[in-house]
Structures are given as structure tokens and as C-alpha cells.
Amino acid sequence: MKNKLEAIRKYASQKIEEAMNLNDLNDIRVNFLGKKGELTQVLRGMKDLSKEERPVIGQIANEIRDSIEKRIEDAKTVIAKKAREIQIQQEVIDVTLPSKKPALGHQHPMSIVLDDIKSIFMGMGYQIAEGPEVEKDYYNFEALNIPENHPAKDEQDTFYISKDIVLRTQTSPVQVRIMEQQKPPIRIIAPGRVYRSDEVDATHSPVFNQLEGLVIDKNITMADLKGALAVFASELYGDNVKVRFRPHHFPFTEPSAEMDISCFKCNGKGCSFCKGEGWIEILGCGMVHPRVLEMSGIDPTIYSGFAFGMGIERIAMLRYGIDDIRLFYENDMRFLKQF
């Protein structure tokens, strides 16, 4: 009996070693350890053994069963590992093949610039205001201290809808509308389309985008205006950029200024980009004219404020080196894809 068991162990070992795959191993398990398996058969014959022999043989038989099971399991691990290795070897791909890229959308360059500007000012506590593009003459001119006969009214070459209605020539009327509706403190920016009667060419468009800013509160000073716009310039153009404020004239601000930034191409040394000046004009600004405050129902003896306005096309053209404003409105995918 004992010899028989040993023979089984040996035979099983040999079979396990010869096994090629998991199926072979399964067969081996069935053949030796299954209900009709060889070892099981042997164990069934135990009942014929003497009382003394039974435990001894039983122990040996159990040992052999455990050992076969263990060897089968070990062999399984080895075979599975090998199979995985083969699978992996077969699955090598050329990683340089083209990807299955999801299509990426693109923002309009003017939108990118506008979003940058918006987030700078929102960070400083400004909200975004809007106003109509088809606007009353009153808001576009009179309420901004541009009287009926002022040359500015003609200079701007306004599109008229009727005697009293125009296409706004600037985003500044939003200032007035906000001041009429809202009590100080006011901190807003108002981006939007504006219209001027300019024939279309590389640098002119009868439709373009401006962004207006307005701050009204007690004790707002021109120093605060400089501060806010200096932060804006360094956020938009980087810390190295210098700003300068020059006196200028706008009917709705007093004092008025234009802000230049040091040329980012030549760092202010003077180059063809900045026409040798070293400075690039970026925006107009000033302290809100007391008459504008009065007309909007804000008492200039209590409140003061500043306003500024800039052209978005110009900023986008400067940033990206775009030399033809018409590209913004053609919507050629090859143009838009670059941003």
C-alpha cells in the first residue's frame, strides 16, 4: 500500500512537471485527486487495512494529497506567469502611431484677452456690467459731458438710428447707466461692442470691442487710479513692464490721462514696433468729471471716482502680433486654431 502511494506521488510529480497549461493541470487534479482519481481509489482501499496500519497509511496518503495539491498550485502560478509574459510580448504597440485625440475647441483671441482682463479686475473686486449697444444719444454723449455741438461728436463718426438713438461709439455710456442704478461703492468693468463709421481696412473696423472701468466711492483719488491700472498692467504684461501716465483730454474725465506701457518688444529702448518711442499707448483714463457725476445723480462733493477705457482688438493685436483687424471677424479655422 505504502509502495503504491509512493508510486502515485512519483507519477503525479512527473505529470505535473510535464503539464503545459492549466487544462493539463486540471486533468491531473481530476486523475489523481478527483472522485475517481488514483489517490482517492487508494484511500478507499484503506478500509481493508488493519487498525494499526490505517493511521500510518492515512497520514502518508494525506501528505501525498497535500503535496500534489501544492505542486499543482505552484505549477499553475508558473504557467500563468509564462502565459502573461507571452501575452505581453505579443501586445507591443508602436506608441508613436497617431493618437485618437478628442477635438479641442479654441477660444477667440479677443475672448482670451478679455477673460484675462476680466479676471484681473474681478480679483480687485470689480463686477461685470453690461449696457445696450443701440443707445440713446443722451447716454452716449450728453450724460458724458459731450454737448450737442462738441467736435468730439463729429470726430467719432457716429452711426445714427434716429436723431436721438445711436450705435454707441464707446462703452462709457454704461458708466452712466450704472451710476443711475447703483449707489456707491461702485466697481465695475463693462466690456462690449462699439461702433464707429470707419471703412474696413487692416487697422479699422466699424465694429470693435472696448472695455470700460468705473470706480466710485468716497475718497477715490488719482493716485488710486494709477494704482489700479499699474496692477492691471503688471498682471497683464508682467512685472517688468513700466507704466506712465500722460495728460490727455476726455470730456467725461478731469483730470484725464492716457496710460502707456514700456514697449514689451524692446523694453522701452525704442524699436520699430513702438515707433521708436519706447512706449505703447494702452488706454485712456481719468477722474470722473464732476458734471458727469452730477448728471448721474451722484454728489461730487461726497463721492469721487475714476474711469478707464481700452480697445480689446488693439490689446489682442499687440499681444499676438496680429497685423490685420479683419482676421478677427473672418473666423477662418486656421486663424482661430492658433489661440
Binding site: S111, Q127, I128, V134, A223, G227, P247, P290, N331
Partner: protein
């Protein structure tokens, strides 16, 4: 405004270099646009005196000259010039000289004879022949005055001058003159301003016995002054005067014209001279033109006028267009004996409008357009008369006819030191402020903190204007840079702006590119888009003065711009275009002055791998993000004429219409030269914002198993999937978790006119494992509903 430096320096001492000058002027508010050293490219040209002229031995057309250039020995120059004679003083370019057009003078031999320089014409010096009537047509310039041989010619021709271009803002019409700029320069550099000393001697008599002046339109002519000049001698102006005009690019004509031009440049006061003998009854009347009245202007054109045009008339006819141009009939000629010299102040707008209407813009009109100071009328007139006396151009009769109905008074403006400092954010002392006020000629009453403003500064009206004067000369760059304290405000997007921002992000996440198109377009687009004649979309906001028909109305729909953009891409052979735009339409509103401006999301796309459902999918991504996808209904209940009749739908959320979607009608595609299928969608952003639901609440993850049931249905062809799904959704009850269409089939085994539809339904309860009978009940309820309402049955 262009002003030459040399002339400017007559009134103010400027010693710094040009860059410093330009920067300082720019920073005090008179922006220097650019400056140009005039004779920069001309070097080594001196006055030469011709000592001898000999024939060239080998050339008939050449002569050999000996020229004294102030050196020890005369220079030998061979020339072909014919207009020279011995003793003439001429400009001589020495060897090494640079002339206009990059011409360089070298030592040379002409037919074997050495030549050590070149005699020059005005053109060769880069000057305009027109400005030098004395220069010969085709020859060497010969100086009329005596100069030492060897003298540099550049100062003689003003070629050592620097021309500066200034940007003058509309609030400073006074700066459109040399004196105005000089006044600013004096204030900028804190130098004395040397205003010319204007005095007219007068030769007796009384001006008002020679002529009378009447203003019928005091609104349009604030002041009209005239002086009379007798025994006029028309001749050439002296060189200094000619040179001043030339340096400003104005051609000298004769002493009288040159003097009026000089005063216009110097003082921004246009003048006009009439031949008094031709002014009927010696009467000047400022009135509006009669309808159809005609006048031949100095340029020889006959002008037909109307009552909007202000004219100067004599007792009978118009003799000049006010502020723009004089008339032929009264013009000054060589025979003129007596002049009436006009100095007036005309309304800027009227001059501008008339000038536009007549298509006639002159130096005078462009000055008047800017609203001049009526006080300047008198000084300007006297300045001219002073020069007439000085030049001996005539006898100025004493007195002035001055019609000045409403005198412009000097204003008084009060200030407080605190007020100015508070506005600027500075701490400037009153002394410093007063110093600045005095620099810009404001008279200061320190005791009452008040200044008197000269009439040429109408822009100074209140304290803020004085603050600007202080700031300009204190220096904008010296004002500190601070961040406003004040009450804090929160910078954030409002709800609609947030929805817009999400919309843009979703469009881009779907691979769309953002477009921008014009807000105005041509009324022709309605026909291009197949829009019926009576459609309300054709009611538009129209522009009275458009740039042409293509830009003549505000758009009522955005798709024309989108289709044009798609066509642009298609015709530039871009394989695919996927665009979106967020922009307004402008819808006229009954009883409202302003139109309704509505923000629209417009999507337009074409691609070979694209169909209706691609664009529908893009919108569904947006709806899902905005939390409304489940409740958006797509229904083919419209007939938009620009869309394919069988491929269009409206999109609505509950009772709100969101917009529409569809394939472009092939006829419309043809109208846009779009030879491909293209897809459009337009969503109203206001409605979308109202519908959007960004509130999210957490639902516990399912713990109990789901059960799937597949349904094979038979439906008539015209039954829409949307109708079937509405019933499945409505009747499936709470336990219906999801439904998925997985097959639509027509053909073999299916009766003609019918289709087979297969759905997979998923049932699940939150709190228990579903029982078979519950699922059967729900399924039957769905099937009953489908059969009853749509005649859809289970496939047998």
C-alpha cells in the same frame, strides 16, 4: 499741429536737446507725436561767390568756374548751368557733401577738367521749388541777399530747423498756434513766455467811416472786426517772413497774403482781406446764405449755397463763405488800393458742417472748426496791421470796426487746496499750486482762493480743471500710486454671466472654435435665407448713415454671419469648420425707443463625418452640464425656411423655448456658395439661463440590483422615437431607472410602413430588490400606454 522749433524759440527759450524737449512736452499734456530735423540729410553746402566763368575747352555745354568759398584759394567747379554769372552767390556742395535723395558729391573730372564741387538748385537741397518763386525754373539757386562766402546755407534755408508734430486735444483750441504751443512750452520749462508786443501806429482817419459791419446771426458769428488799409503796395514779403511760412509748409505769395497766413499760424486767428472798392456800399453783413444763392470762391469754383451756410455779404451779394473761403469778386489783386481786413469768430460747428457740405476744407476752416477764442480777434487783427506797417505794405487807418454782441468774459474759478489734493491723492502746498497757476497765466486771488481764467482757456471751469493744471505741471508721474481703500466689493460673475461662461467652456470642450461676426448686415440676407416677405424678422433697426448697404441694419438673426463664416472656411478648403458665437440680435420693440438686445448662442458646423445628431449632441452636452438634459424636448414642430424641411427641430424646456436646430436648406447653402451639408443651431441665452439648474443634490448610490428588460416594438413609420420615449418615461414610474434605444429596423419581416424598435429598460428600487411582478406591472403599463396612445405594439 506742426510747429517748427525755430519759430517757437522766438517766444520761449528752449536750450535742452530735442528728446528732452519732446518728453517734457508730452508729459505736460502737449503730446509730441514725432519730430524731424529738417536738413539732416544735407551736409557741407556753403555759400560760394562766382569769381570767374570760362569756356570748357572740350565741351560746348560746360563751363569752368572759379568759386570763392571763403577759403584761401577759390574752388574749380565745372558746371552745365546756364543761369550763372560772375559775382553771383550760389549754394555750393563741397566734395563729401550729402544732398537730397542720397546724392553724394565726389571729386570728379568732366571732359578731362577737374571739378571740386557742385552748384545746387533748391530741389537738390530737398526744398520745394514752389516755396521759392525767385528760383529759376531749371537752374542754380542765386541768393538775393549778400552772404559771406563759406557761410553754411542750411540756416539760410531753414534747414537747421526741427519740425515737431503735436497732438492737440479738442479742449485746447488755443494750442493750434505757434504761440499756444510756446505758452505751454514756457509753462513746462518754467521759462518766461515772450508774447509779441502788438502795437499799431495808425495813420489817422477812422475805420468806421470807411466801412460798416452788421452781424445778423450772432449765434454763428460771435465777433466781427475789421480794419482798413489804404495805399496798399502788393509786393514780395521779406525773406524772414517767407522763411517762417516755408518752415510751416506754406507757399509765400505776396506781403498781404503772407501776413494773414503768418497771423493764422502764429495766433490761430484766420484773417481775410477784401478789396474794399469792390465791396458794394462798403457794407459787411454776416448772414445766412439765401436758398440757391451762388458765389464764385477764390479757387474759381461756383458754389451754390443754402441757408445753413453762413456768408459774408456786401450790400447785395455774398462775397465770402464765413470762415472757409473768400470770393473771387472782392479778392485782392495787384491793383487793389484799399483793403478791408477781416478778423472774426465763427461758430465751429457751422463752419464744420458747411465745409463738409461744400466739400471745401481750408486752413482757416480747420482752425474755426475747433472753436476759437473771440478775444483773439482783436489781437490777431492788430498783429496783422502791425506787420503791414512794419513791412510798408500800406497805411493802416486808425480805429477798428468791432462788432462784438456778447463779450466773452474772463471766468473766475475757486479752489480749495484740500479739494485738489483730495482728488489727486497728493499733498501739494498752496504755494506750489499758485506757482503752477501763474505759469499757465491764471491770475490768482490767494485771499479768496480764486483764479481768473483767460478767455483762451474755456476748458477751465471748475476745481477739477484746476486740479488737472496742477497735476500736469506737478507731473503725473509724481502723483503717488496707491490702492483704493474704501468699502470692499466682491468681484464675481452674475448668474447669467456664469451660464455664458459655462456655455463657452462646453462648446470648446466639444471641439468648437469661437467666432465673432459683425452686428450689422444687409437687408439682402433675408432673401438669401429664404425668409418670407411678411416675417417679423424683416423688421429691423436701420442705420441712417451706414457705410453701405452691407452694413445698413442691425441683425435680427445671427445665422447670416455664421453661414458666411462657414462658407469662408469651405471656400478656403478647410475640411471642417465647427464654430460657435455668443452675440446679440437687435429686435425692434413696439412702443420702446431701444430694441430688445438678446444674446444668442449660434453654432454652425460642417464636416464629412457629421450629421444632424452631431450638433444635437453638442447641445445635449451643454444641457447636461446645465442640469436640464432630462427635460429638454426636441420636436419637429417648426418650419424654418432656412432649414431642411425634414431635418429641423425646436428645443424647449418645460414651457420655455430654448431655440432650434437643423440642417441648412440646400437652397440656402447654394445662396452662400456652401457646397456641403451644414448644420446650425441657435439658443436664446436668456431662456437658457432661466432654464438652467446648477443646483446638485447627492443621490445615494444604488445598493440593490437592477433588472433589465428588453422590449421589441412595432410602430408605424411616422411615430417618433421622442413620442415613444415620452410615454416610456411617463409610465415607467419611479422604478424605471433608464431606457436605451438599441435598434431601429425596417425591411424584411417587418410589414411595409412599419418599423421595429428595440429598447432596453432598466428597473431598480432604492430600498429593495424588485420582485418579478413589480417589473411586469411597470412594463405592462408602458406597453399599454404605447398601444393606446401611439398604436405601438409588442413585436410578436
Amino acid at each position: 499741429m506742426n510747429a517748427p522749433m525755430k519759430w517757437l524759440k522766438d517766444y520761449v527759450d528752449i536750450t535742452c536737446d530735442m528728446k528732452t524737449f519732446a518728453d517734457a512736452m508730452t508729459m505736460s499734456g502737449t503730446k509730441v507725436e514725432c519730430y524731424e530735423a529738417l536738413g539732416e540729410s544735407i551736409t557741407h553746402v556753403v555759400v560760394g561767390k562766382i569769381l570767374a566763368i570760362e569756356k570748357h575747352p572740350d565741351a560746348d555745354k560746360l563751363v569752368i568756374t572759379s568759386v570763392d568759398i571763403g577759403e584761401d584759394a577759390p574752388l574749380q567747379i565745372v558746371t552745365g548751368a546756364k543761369n550763372i554769372s560772375t559775382g553771383d552767390l550760389v549754394p555750393v556742395a563741397l566734395v563729401g557733401a550729402n544732398l537730397a535723395g542720397g546724392l553724394k558729391i565726389k571729386k570728379g573730372k568732366l571732359r578731362g577738367v577737374e571739378s571740386l564741387g557742385m552748384m545746387c538748385s533748391v530741389e537738390e537741397l530737398g526744398l520745394e521749388k514752389d516755396h521759392y518763386p525767385e528760383a529759376p525754373e531749371d537752374g542754380i539757386y542765386i541768393f538775393e541777399k549778400e552772404y559771406q562766402p563759406g557761410t553754411d546755407v542750411k540756416p539760410i534755408f531753414g534747414l537747421d530747423d526741427v519740425m515737431v508734430e503735436y497732438e492737440i486735444t479738442s479742449n485746447r483750441p488755443d494750442c493750434n498756434s505757434i504761440l499756444g504751443i510756446a505758452r505751454e512750452a514756457a509753462a513746462t520749462f518754467n521759462q518766461p513766455f515772450k508774447y509779441p508786443d502788438i502795437k499799431v501806429k495808425g495813420s489817422g482817419g477812422q475805420a468806421d467811416t470807411y466801412a460798416s459791419v452788421e452781424i445778423l446771426e450772432p449765434q454763428l458769428c460771435k465777433r466781427y472786426a475789421a480794419r482798413i488799409v489804404k495805399n496798399v503796395k502788393i509786393e514780395q514779403s521779406p525773406e524772414w517772413l517767407r522763411q517762417k511760412l516755408i518752415s510751416c509748409g506754406i507757399r509765400p505769395i505776396n506781403n498781404i497774403v503772407d501776413i494773414t497766413n503768418f497771423v493764422m499760424l502764429e495766433m490761430a486767428q484766420p484773417l481775410h482781406a477784401f478789396d474794399l472798392e469792390k465791396v458794394k456800399e462798403n457794407k459787411i453783413c454776416v448772414r445766412c446764405a439765401n436758398e440757391g444763392e451762388t458765389l464764385v470762391t477764390l479757387d474759381g469754383e461756383e458754389r451754390t449755397l443754402d441757408p445753413s451756410v453762413l456768408v459774408i455779404a456786401d450790400a447785395e451779394d455774398a462775397v465770402a463763405i464765413a470762415g472757409i473761403m473768400g470770393g473771387e469778386s472782392t479778392k485782392v489783386t495787384d491793383c487793389t488800393m484799399t483793403l478791408l481786413l477781416e478778423s472774426a469768430n465763427f461758430d465751429g460747428t457751422n463752419v464744420r458742417m458747411s465745409s463738409k457740405k461744400l466739400g471745401l476744407r481750408t486752413d482757416a476752416s480747420s482752425k474755426f472748426e475747433k472753436y476759437l477764442d473771440p478775444s483773439n480777434v482783436e489781437q490777431g487783427l492788430n498783429r496783422a496791421c502791425q506787420l503791414i506797417e512794419q513791412l510798408g505794405a500800406g497805411e493802416v487807418i486808425s480805429g477798428m470796426v468791432d462788432c462784438y454782441p456778447v463779450k466773452r468774459e474772463e471766468k473766475e474759478v475757486s479752489y480749495t487746496v484740500e479739494g485738489i489734493n483730495k482728488l489727486l491723492g497728493t499733498d501739494i502746498s498752496e504755494d506750489e499750486m499758485i506757482q503752477i497757476f501763474e505759469r499757465v497765466e491764471l491770475k490768482v486771488d490767494r485771499e479768496h482762493h480764486r483764479v481768473t481764467v483767460p478767455t483762451f482757456r474755456p476748458d477751465i471751469e471748475r476745481e477739477a480743471d484746476l486740479a488737472e493744471e496742477v497735476a500736469r505741471f506737478y507731473g503725473y508721474s509724481n502723483i503717488p500710486t496707491t490702492l483704493a481703500a474704501g468699502t470692499p466689493t466682491v468681484g464675481k460673475l452674475n448668474y447669467q454671466q456664469k451660464i455664458e461662461s459655462i456655455t463657452k467652456a462646453m462648446m470648446e470642450s466639444c471641439g468648437l472654435y469661437e467666432a465673432m461676426t459683425y452686428s450689422f448686415e444687409s437687408p439682402k440676407v433675408f432673401d438669401k435665407l429664404n425668409i418670407p416677405k411678411e416675417d417679423s424678422l424683416r423688421e429691423t433697426v436701420k442705420i441712417l448713415n451706414p457705410l453701405g448697404e452691407d452694413f445698413s441694419m442691425m441683425r435680427t438673426l445671427t445665422i447670416n454671419g455664421m453661414l458666411v463664416s462657414l462658407a469662408t472656411n469651405y471656400n478656403r478648403r478647410n475640411e471642417t469648420a465647427k464654430l460657435y458665437e455668443l452675440s446679440y440680435v437687435y429686435l425692434p420693440q413696439e412702443g420702446q425707443e431701444l430694441p430688445d438686445e438678446r444674446l444668442k448662442l449660434t453654432i454652425g458646423m460642417y464636416d464629412k463625418d457629421m450629421d444632424f445628431f452631431t450638433i444635437k449632441g453638442v447641445l445635449e452636452v451643454l444641457f447636461e452640464k446645465l442640469g436640464i438634459l432630462e427635460d429638454v424636448v426636441t420636436a419637429p414642430d417648426v418650419n424654418y425656411k432656412w432649414l431642411h424641411p425634414g431635418r429641423q427641430a425646436t428645443l424647449s424646456y418645460k414651457d420655455t423655448s430654448l431655440g432650434w436646430i437643423g440642417e441648412v436648406h440646400p437652397d440656402v447653402a447654394d445662396n452662400y456658395d456652401l457646397d456641403t451639408r451644414a448644420y446650425l443651431a441657435v439658443i436664446d441665452m436668456q431662456h437658457l439661463t432661466q432654464a438652467a439648474n446648477l443646483k446638485k443634490t447627492y443621490q445615494a448610490l444604488a445598493k440593490y440590483p437592477a433588472v433589465n428588460r428588453d422590449l421589441a416594438l412595432i410602430a408605424k413609420d411616422d411615430i417618433l422615437i421622442g413620442q415613444i420615449e415620452a410615454i416610456i418615461k411617463q409610465r415607467g414610474g419611479k422604478i424605471l431607472e433608464a431606457y436605451q434605444l438599441f435598434d431601429v429596423y425596417k425591411g424584411k419581416q417587418i410589414e411595409k410602413g412599419y418599423k421595429s424598435i428595440a429598447y432596453s429598460l432598466t428597473f431598480r428600487a432604492k430600498d429593495r430588490t424588485l420582485e418579478e411582478n413589480e417589473i411586469n406591472k411597470a412594463t405592462n403599463k408602458i406597453l399599454n400606454g404605447l398601444e393606446r396612445e401611439l398604436g405601438v405594439t409588442l413585436r410578436q
